[in-house]
């Protein structure tokens, strides 16, 4: 992974606490993500990993704490604002638009870059048509990159799981994000599919310099891909560091092997 210049922190979450009713999902979690790096979040089930991503892009609003992205500190992040700042993500349970084709799904990823209004679009002349074609060209690049040309016009609901995961990645990529949140991109995949997905993630990071935050259960994948790892357990951060440091951390071993608390 040479050639990448890992820079200053682009994302800083500080002292995040989030609870639903009486259930504490996150407690005083802080960590940072540096520009261009691949940062993994790991932890047992229910550790609060997905909740953490949901805080970063504004789906959940924490009771305490702040999120700083590109120097802008916010307590209350709004999903639309996060998206327009360049945060994109995929979901643990695929969140594609099932009734739409692969092409349309990925096109939605470019919605923030479209400028024409609905009247121009209804007339389908001039600017609206040119814009649609320009973005179509961009989306075709994403489709080529992910090698899904053959299913362009297929409704995503009819695709097998592995391909759906890839389309979801494509939708997020189409937005040309600066920060890419991936929630278990390889869950439920076979070895071959996992290898493909790993390659795509590394390529995205390498070619476009996209900063990536990744939740993953497969330890092998995490160790291979990530620059630094955050470990959560019961909503608390229990370790933070380079993969091999984290692997030998006693608290992490206890959390995974289930030592009584």
């Amino acid at each position: 992974m040479s050639g990448r210049n890992i820079g200053e922190p682009i994302l800083v979450v500080e002292d995040i606490s989030l609870s639903f009713g009486g259930v504490r999902a996150l407690q005083n979690v802080s960590f940072d993500v540096r520009e261009h790096e691949i940062r993994a979040i790991i932890g047992p089930n229910g550790a609060g990993k997905s909740s953490m991503l949901n805080v970063v892009n504004g789906v959940y609003h924490p009771q305490v704490g702040t999120v700083t992205f590109k120097g802008e500190t916010r307590h209350h992040v709004d999903p639309h604002h996060a998206a327009s700042q360049g945060v994109a993500r995929t979901f643990q349970n695929i969140a594609l638009f099932r009734g739409m084709t692969v092409l349309d799904n990925i096109m939605t990823g470019r919605n923030l870059k479209m400028r024409t209004n609905f009247l121009q679009q209804a007339l389908w002349v001039g600017a609206a048509k040119r814009e649609e074609m320009a973005h179509r060209r961009k989306v075709e690049e994403v489709i080529d990159f992910l090698e899904i040309q053959h299913i362009r016009k297929t409704p995503v609901g009819r695709l097998p799981y592995g391909l759906q995961k890839r389309v979801e990645l494509g939708r997020a990529l189409a937005a040309e994000p600066e920060l890419f949140l991936l929630d278990e991109p390889m869950a439920g995949m076979n070895t071959e599919e996992k290898q493909d997905m790993c390659r795509f993630i590394l390529d995205v990071n390498d070619q476009f310099g996209t900063t990536i935050v990744l939740i993953e259960h497969d330890m092998g994948v995490v160790m291979d891909l990530s620059d630094r790892v955050v470990v959560l357990d019961y909503g608390r951060k229990i370790a933070d560091g380079k993969p091999d440091e984290v692997r030998s951390d006693q608290a992490v071993i206890d959390a995974y092997l289930g030592v009584a608390h």
Partner: protein
């Protein structure tokens, strides 16, 4: 302001609200057990009332007719489960909702095809007249029939509560209402339960049909009372029996008060939309209803 008149209007409204609650109850039962918003509940009320009154008019004894109608409603419940719900299992709730709109049309057409379209009178032996002692002592006019309906509603709720708390089927129903998957996992036969719930809802529809039929006559317009029950549900929450009752009372009272005190300023006829707008404003404040549960969207 004339407080006696106010009380009279209020009481009339509350009692009318009981009648709405009777219909709303049927919605709540089905929604709780199967997650289906049964738009056809009003049509079921009509179907039940029309069947009953037609049987009585053909010379059948009151009680035998009641039992026969109950049997028909149970059969209908089972048939609906078979023909409509089972093929649509696991579809989004909105699809099931639209299917019950279709069901509404089928039931309306079917009942009139079988029994004819002419209106019928229905006599339960309770006069719809103000109670004398109350009129004389406090100068407040409250209909005997309204009180009777309230009593019936009270008994119905009590019977349903007993059924849900004390019987095996009732407990299974509550389990299903809490969590379909978990109920299936512990071996509760979901389909049977749904058929039973629809049958019980048919029974509630029969009671509501008798009350409304006795008050307004058994005619096509009965199907519209379902539309009155909808704002009640929004107000009370779709899954709460208590909500149906309280919501009914609030809608009944506020609609009558609005008609009497606001109506003259805007030309009357508020009853057609006031409950809806009230429920709508309420929704903006508390989308889950008075007694509904708050849901967290998980991602």
């Amino acid at each position: 302001m004339n407080w006696q008149f106010f009380l009279e209007v209020l009481a009339g409204g509350l009692l009318a609200g009981v009648m709405y609650a009777l219909v709303a109850l049927g919605f709540v039962l089905i929604y709780k057990a199967s997650g289906v918003f049964n738009f056809a509940q009003g049509a079921m009320v009509f179907f039940a009332a029309l069947t009953f009154v037609s049987l009585v008019e053909r010379g059948m004894n009151f009680w035998i007719a009641l039992l026969a109608t109950l049997a028909v409603m149970i059969g209908l419940g089972i048939a609906i489960e078979r023909a409509v719900l089972r093929p649509l299992v696991n579809q989004p709730p909105i699809t099931l909702f639209m299917a019950t709109i279709g069901l509404t049309f089928v039931l309306e057409g079917l009942s009139q095809l079988i029994w004819g379209s002419q209106p019928h009178g229905l006599e339960l032996g309770i006069p719809d007249e103000p109670m004398q002692w109350l009129s004389e002592s406090a100068n407040i006019n409250i209909s005997q029939f309204d009180l009777f309906a309230a009593l019936v509603a009270g008994i119905l709720v009590a019977v349903l509560a007993l059924f849900f708390q004390k019987t095996r089927i009732g407990r299974a129903l509550r389990a299903v209402a809490d969590d379909h998957q978990a109920a299936l996992a512990v071996g509760i036969p979901l389909r049977q339960i749904w058929a039973i719930v629809w049958a019980v809802a048919g029974f509630v529809a029969l009671v509501a049909g008798l009350m409304w039929g006795a008050r307004n006559g058994v005619q096509y317009a009965l199907t519209f009372i379902a539309l009155k029950a909808l704002p009640v549900l929004i107000l009370g929450g779709f899954e709460s029996v208590a909500g149906a009752i309280v919501g009914g009372l609030i809608i009944g009272a506020s609609e009558k008060l609005a008609e009497v005190y606001l109506g003259p300023f805007v030309g009357g006829g508020l009853e057609s939309w006031f409950p809806y707008v009230l429920a709508l404003l309420f929704l903006l404040v508390r989308p889950e209803g008075l007694f509904g549960e708050k849901h967290i969207d998980r991602v």
